[in-house]
């Protein structure tokens, strides 16, 4: 790093720190839905990425429709799109739970195969409906570009947006799980299904709703990611590995663990990417995660539950 001015280095460090935070928000947003589904319900949802892409396609549809019919409101279409993405992905999630997942609660490993099949099915469905090519999702002008904080420091607007969104959704999920009666029921069902049923909780309804919420959040994540990534039938595959990594590393049942692990992985990865090359950083991050999971197979944080 010799030969650079101190000012340059300082601003790069500031930007690097900020980019680490953006990556952290992206990871949390990707993983929250799965943390609910995999962490709380124990369903290994391999179709998580496809639920995200459903959200992305909803955003694409919204953008196209707004451009054609409501050009005056184009600047705010993104918010409508996110609501729609949540509803669509959530509804599909509830349908999936009803048709597929509920028959497999006693065989959690089989959910892996079933949802993997579902992911292939959904990918081909997107391909048939929207075409095999990538679609370009136009983003309103105010969400593009960067805010120049100084000559050398540029703060990406889409990054800020994702950070804000992640914060909001995380808070909402926490409130929902830990401060609402529904959250109490969910936690009761996940800890002991039979007992929860015995005290009068409609476990089927709770399951369906939980799965739906998890998928809905995935939909919102997909919608937000149209700003930073690509929208194509198989783009969901780009996220699935990182998502599972974050959830498993954090300790599947702990939402706090998910956030902590997203923070650790994102900071490690973005710092290493800066000093090493992209591929190498990924390899090292994965190696570290594997190493830590070998020493601590339950993940970073564990919920103490009597089984």
């Amino acid at each position: 790093m010799l030969g650079y001015s101190l000012g340059d280095l300082a601003s790069i460090f500031a930007m690097q720190a900020f980019d680490g935070l953006i990556l952290f928000s992206v990871f949390v947003l990707m993983a929250l839905g799965l943390a609910i589904i995999f962490g709380q319900m124990g369903v290994i949802n391999m179709a998580h990425g496809e639920f995200m892409i459903l959200g992305a396609y909803m955003t694409y549809l919204c953008s196209t429709l707004f451009k054609a019919y409501l050009p005056n409101f184009y600047g705010i279409y993104f918010f409508v799109a996110m609501v729609l993405a949540f509803v669509a992905a959530g509804a599909l999630g509830m349908l999936t739970e009803w048709a597929l997942i509920r028959h497999l609660y006693k065989r959690p490993l089989d959910t892996l195969l079933a949802t993997w099949g579902l992911s292939l099915f959904l990918q081909q469905a997107y391909r048939s409906i929207f075409g095999a090519r990538e679609v370009g999702v136009d983003v309103p002008g105010w969400m593009l570009g960067a805010i120049p904080a100084s000559d050398t420091i540029q703060i990406p607007i889409n990054g800020l947006f994702v950070m804000g969104l992640t914060t909001l959704i995380t808070i909402a999920v926490f409130l929902l799980l830990f401060r609402s009666s529904w959250g109490k029921k969910v936690r009761a069902v996940m800890q002991n299904r039979a007992m929860a049923g015995a005290v009068g909780i409609d476990t089927e309804k709770v399951d369906r709703f939980t799965f739906g919420i998890g998928c809905g959040i995935a939909g919102i994540a997909g919608s937000a990611f149209t700003m930073i990534g690509s929208t194509s039938p198989s783009a969901g595959q780009l996220y699935i590995v990182d998502t599972f990594l974050v959830v498993v590393f954090g300790g599947a049942q702990s939402l706090f663990g998910t956030i902590a692990s997203a923070f650790t992985i994102s900071q490690a990865q973005s710092t290493m990417e800066f000093f090493l090359s992209g591929s190498m950083a990924k390899v090292l991050a994965l190696l570290a995660v594997v190493g830590i999971l070998m020493l601590r197979p339950q993940g970073l944080f564990v919920l103490k539950v009597r089984r």
Binding site: Y4, D8, L9, I12, M15, Q16, D19, I22, L23, V26, Q124, R127, G131, A132, R133, E134, V135, G136, V137, D138, V139, L144, G145, A146, P148, T152, Q154, P156, I157, N158, G159, F225, M227, I228, G229, S230, T231, S232, P233, S234, A235, Q237, L238, Y239, Q269, S270, T271, E273, F274, S277, G278, S279, A281, K282
Partner: protein, 417 residues
């Protein structure tokens, strides 16, 4: 017929007439006899050729991750076949195609190639996109003596008896582009980026050798990212620190979209400040990236949809008529369009569908493609021009430079390995 003379007699003019008639006899007999010979010799190896039809294969991924890229090639090949049929076909036979799906899976490509060659007995195959799929089908084509027309620009370092490479090998795409950008932008430093697999790595290797050994300039960074990587902020920061004159980007697939969106979000201004040259973004990719995210970037290709020639306008119109007004045509799509035409010309030159004869007849064939005339080299690649385009916000390129002469393909470049 002309030999039969009603005025038979010994007179001398008459005798001359008879002699004429005799002389004309073989000539008159020649045409039908030759046509007959063609029918018999047109297919001596049991290919799927009848008196009215010839069957060819199309082998691309229409499902799986690669369907994004390969769809355009399928469309272009079908358009070419339709146009050839409308013009009377090949050696008087209409082309019928059997389409197989490689499903983005290399063993599937090999299996389907074998099916096309062995059980369908197709006369030629237009297909593959990634180098991995081409490498997978190569032994099949060599064993069963098929012909493959391969549309994609690729890393070179290959020359098969049974493959015709319609895309540029690496040096055709890279060297002219680097020379141009050095000349016009007075570039001194380069930052090389790529997705982590054979094509970007080989291409960047050639680019680095050219920059360091021939242009005597400096490469200040070289980096690769896993396929499908969606996070580029760290490398963007690194580039901001090192301030390269030129970013040389060979990022592919979904990563492309993430890269250019993040570049834009990081405030890198490719219109006024930062020069970026890519060899991996065609009009097809820009649809996913969004024109406003890549406006100002330069690309080195052999074809851009915006080429302003009557041939190209005709091609673009026909393509849009067949596949919809919204469709765009990238470099590879146009290259794929050349496949059926090059094959037709070779078959007609050989007077036969036999693969050996078609392959032998191919070198030297010139086709007036939408990009301009292309010529098949002895090494089965095409002579072609390289163009530099500058991305517009509407997703098309403004062509800012064309090489004065078509560039000779050189799949095994000396001094670049």
């Amino acid at each position: 017929m002309s030999s039969r003379n009603p005025h038979s007699g010994p007179a001398s003019p008459l005798r001359r007439k008879v002699l004429y008639g005799l002389a004309a006899l073989p000539a008159a007999g020649l045409l039908p006899r030759r046509a007959f010979a063609q029918a018999a010799g047109a297919n001596t190896t049991g290919l799927a050729v009848t008196d009215t039809e010839v069957t060819v294969g199309i082998l691309h991924s229409v499902t799986g991750t690669m369907a994004i890229s390969e769809t355009g090639s399928v469309e272009a090949e079908k358009l070419a076949i339709e146009q050839i049929n409308a013009g009377g076909g090949v050696l008087g036979r209409k082309i019928k195609f059997i389409q197989e799906d490689g499903a983005s899976d290399w063993p599937t490509f090999a299996e389907k190639a074998k099916k096309l060659l062995v059980s369908d007995k197709v006369a030629s195959v237009f297909g593959c996109w990634t180098s991995a799929s081409r490498k997978a089908v190569l032994p099949v084509f060599e064993q069963y003596k098929g012909i493959l027309y391969y549309p994609t620009f690729y890393e070179g370092l290959e020359e098969s008896h049974d493959v015709f490479y319609e895309g540029q090998e690496a040096t055709q795409q890279i060297i002219a582009g680097l020379n141009w950008i050095t000349d016009t932008k007075k570039a001194k430093t380069f930052y090389l980026l790529g997705s982590d697999y054979i094509w970007p790595r080989t291409s960047n290797k050639i680019a680095r050798k050219h920059i360091e050994n021939h242009l005597h300039l400096e490469v200040v960074g070289e980096e690769y990212f896993p396929l499908g990587n969606t996070e580029f902020n760290s490398v963007i920061n690194k580039m901001k620190l090192k301030k390269p004159d030129v970013i040389y980007a060979i990022i592919v697939g979904g990563s492309n979209v993430a890269f250019y969106k993040q570049l834009k979000a990081a405030g890198i201004d490719m219109v006024n400040k930062q020069t970026l040259l890519t060899i991996s973004v065609t009009e097809d990719e820009i649809r996913g990236i969004g024109g406003e995210n890549i406006v100002g970037a330069y690309a080195a290709m052999k074809y851009f949809q915006s080429i302003d020639t009557p041939d190209n306008h005709k091609f673009v119109d026909a393509f849009k008529k067949m596949w919809g007004a919204e469709s765009v045509i990238g470099d590879v799509t146009q290259a794929a369009y050349e496949g059926p035409w090059l094959w037709k010309l070779a078959v007609e030159k050989a007077g036969s569908f036999d693969t050996d004869k078609v392959i032998a007849a191919s070198p030297g064939i010139v086709f007036n493609a939408p990009e301009g005339p292309v010529k098949i080299h002895e090494n089965h690649h095409l002579w072609s021009n390289t163009r530099i385009g500058r991305a517009r916000s509407d997703g098309q390129y403004d062509i800012v430079y064309v090489t004065p002469e078509p560039i000779e393909p050189d799949p095994f470049p000396k001094g670049y390995q």
